[in-house]
């Protein structure tokens, strides 16, 4: 299981989750067992998390995502990179994200 974030890699939501937008909230609904501490948990992403999640399409690398967000939010690269790595790391730990297949 991938647990360390690689900024050169592209990531994509796992097939074991369903992401739903409900009344402006992004709710992540686990499909498979063992993705949370209890078997009835759902998850939501905050605004920063949402902005990053929406760009995890399996094609753009995390570096690309960071660059894009720097422009959109006019924020320093270091700060954006920390947020991206933080979210991706958290989602990888929960198996909600996987590294995209290459080539």
């Amino acid at each position: 299981m991938e647990s360390t974030t690689n900024l050169d890699a592209a990531y994509v939501p796992s097939e074991d989750v369903v992401a739903r937008e409900i009344e402006e909230e992004l709710i992540i609904v686990p499909l498979a067992a063992g993705m949370g501490d209890t078997e009835d948990e759902l998850y939501s992403l905050n605004e920063t998390g949402r902005a990053i999640w929406d760009r995890l399409d399996g094609k753009a690398s995390l570096k690309d995502v960071v660059d894009e967000l720097c422009v959109e939010f006019e924020a320093p690269a270091g700060e954006i990179e920390r947020d991206v790595a933080g979210l991706v790391g958290e989602l990888l730990k929960r198996r909600m994200l996987v590294k995209a297949a290459t080539g």
Binding site: V29, P30, S44, E90
Partner: protein
């Protein structure tokens, strides 16, 4: 795992906090079939498992899929699969996966007799995200099957529950209090409390509803004989007198009062509803009056929720007896009377139900809200009585009137 600043856990049955409005449809009840492999003596809905006419009228797999798709589009997060016995459907697994893959939590209500190793494994691998709800009818084959009238059902139910335990699939149980199992109450409660996911006492059904489709007066006569009287019900409700009184003081101070001629004072049809086995959308599971059901084969959940249900909820009582009693009665809220109960008991939406009236009055007398010969609909100073109830909460555990 700890929450970081990006990902928040939304645990348990608490709904997420929506930034703006709640979704149009938060929860949907879906009655997959009215058919059941049991034939419980007290059941308000069941049809035989091999009822061909019923089966042919049921929504198809595709039709249920369409309902679920629309429910998801309206923001629904939870669907309750109920019946009859929902596992009787040959396409249950397909419907379950369809719902889960669209990001729905599934609350399954079942008698557990049809839970197979394959299904238990499925629920372990792709969890429903809601506890499976199982009704248990007795602790022995003799008592259990005296209720279900289905030989072999006791062993099958226990096998089903053991499979869920083995696979660590969370489930909860509730009891149906009937003459055949009444002597087993304590045994049932002790057993239920040992189920790993039961974090509160197992609830009991005891004031059974009459037939939801008003299709059998013979069965209704049986149900009337089986359900607890007001006095017996009060004894059950007040088994823990301190807890009961504390809960009722809190409840009565906020949720009871005369409704006037408004019929619908509950939340039925607001953000929720029930689709019956044949495609009719109802404000709640029990209400099947022809004027209050919406044909989904000719419309949509959205139209039902935004146009039809609000019209239903606007209905006013006309029955003189209702207007004289229920409309003026401050026990509304404590009393379980509602249009659905009136429908099952009388075939109309606005008639008092004496059985429910007796139960509510018994509780009110126990709580000191009513004198022995008073009718609640004749009381004018009910607000003072409720406030006085608050002041007497220090006397928790001390009945203000003699216990029944």
């Amino acid at each position: 795992m700890e929450d970081n600043t990006y990902v928040a856990r939304l645990g348990g049955t608490n709904p997420p906090l929506w930034k703006s409005n709640s979704p149009l449809l938060g929860k949907l009840d879906l009655e997959l079939t009215e058919r059941c492999n049991n034939n419980c003596i007290h059941c308000s809905i069941n049809r035989p498992a091999d009822d061909r006419a019923a089966r042919e009228k049921e929504l198809s797999t595709g039709e249920i899929g369409d309902v679920l798709k629309e429910a998801v589009s309206l923001g629904c997060l939870t669907v309750r699969f109920t019946g009859g016995e929902p596992l009787l459907r040959d396409d249950f697994e397909e419907l379950y996966l369809f719902a889960r893959r669209r990001g729905l939590r599934v609350l399954l209500c079942t008698n557990a007799t049809l839970i197979t190793p394959h299904l238990a494994e499925l629920f372990a691998r792709i969890p429903p995200l809601e506890m499976v709800e199982i009704t248990v009818y007795g602790m022995r084959e003799e008592s259990y099957e005296a209720v279900t009238r289905s030989p072999g059902s006791f062993e099958a139910a226990w096998q089903g529950m053991n499979l869920l335990l083995e696979k660590k699939v969370p489930f909860g149980v509730k009891g149906a209090l009937l003459p055949a199992n009444r002597e087993e109450m304590e045994e049932f409660e002790a057993w239920a409390s040992a189920i790993p996911w039961m974090d509160r006492p197992a609830p009991w059904a005891m004031f059974f509803n009459l037939r939801a489709r008003r299709d059998s007066e013979e069965k209704n006569r049986l149900i009337r004989r089986l359900r607890l009287s007001a006095e017996e019900g009060l004894r059950m409700l007040t088994r823990e007198p301190q807890e009961y009184r504390k809960a009722m003081v809190e409840f009565c101070s906020g949720f009871i009062g005369p409704p006037g001629d408004r019929l619908f004072t509950c939340g039925s049809g607001i953000g929720s509803g029930c689709v019956d086995a044949y495609g009719f959308f109802q404000p709640c599971l029990l209400l099947r009056h022809p004027d209050t059901v919406y044909d989904l084969r000719k419309g949509s959940l959205k139209d039902g929720l935004t146009r039809f249900f609000p019209e239903v909820r606007e209905r006013r009582a006309k029955d003189p007896d209702y207007l004289n009693r229920c409309a003026r009665c401050f026990l509304k809220g404590l009393c379980e009377h509602c249009p659905a109960k009136s429908w099952t008991e009388h075939g109309v939406l606005d008639r008092p139900v004496d059985y429910l009236c007796e139960i509510a009055h018994a509780q009110a007398r126990y709580l000191g809200l009513l004198g022995a010969d008073e009718n609640a609909w004749e009381v004018r100073n009910w607000r003072e009585r409720i406030e006085s109830m608050d002041e007497q909460s220090d006397l928790v555990g001390v009945p203000l009137t003699e216990s029944v």
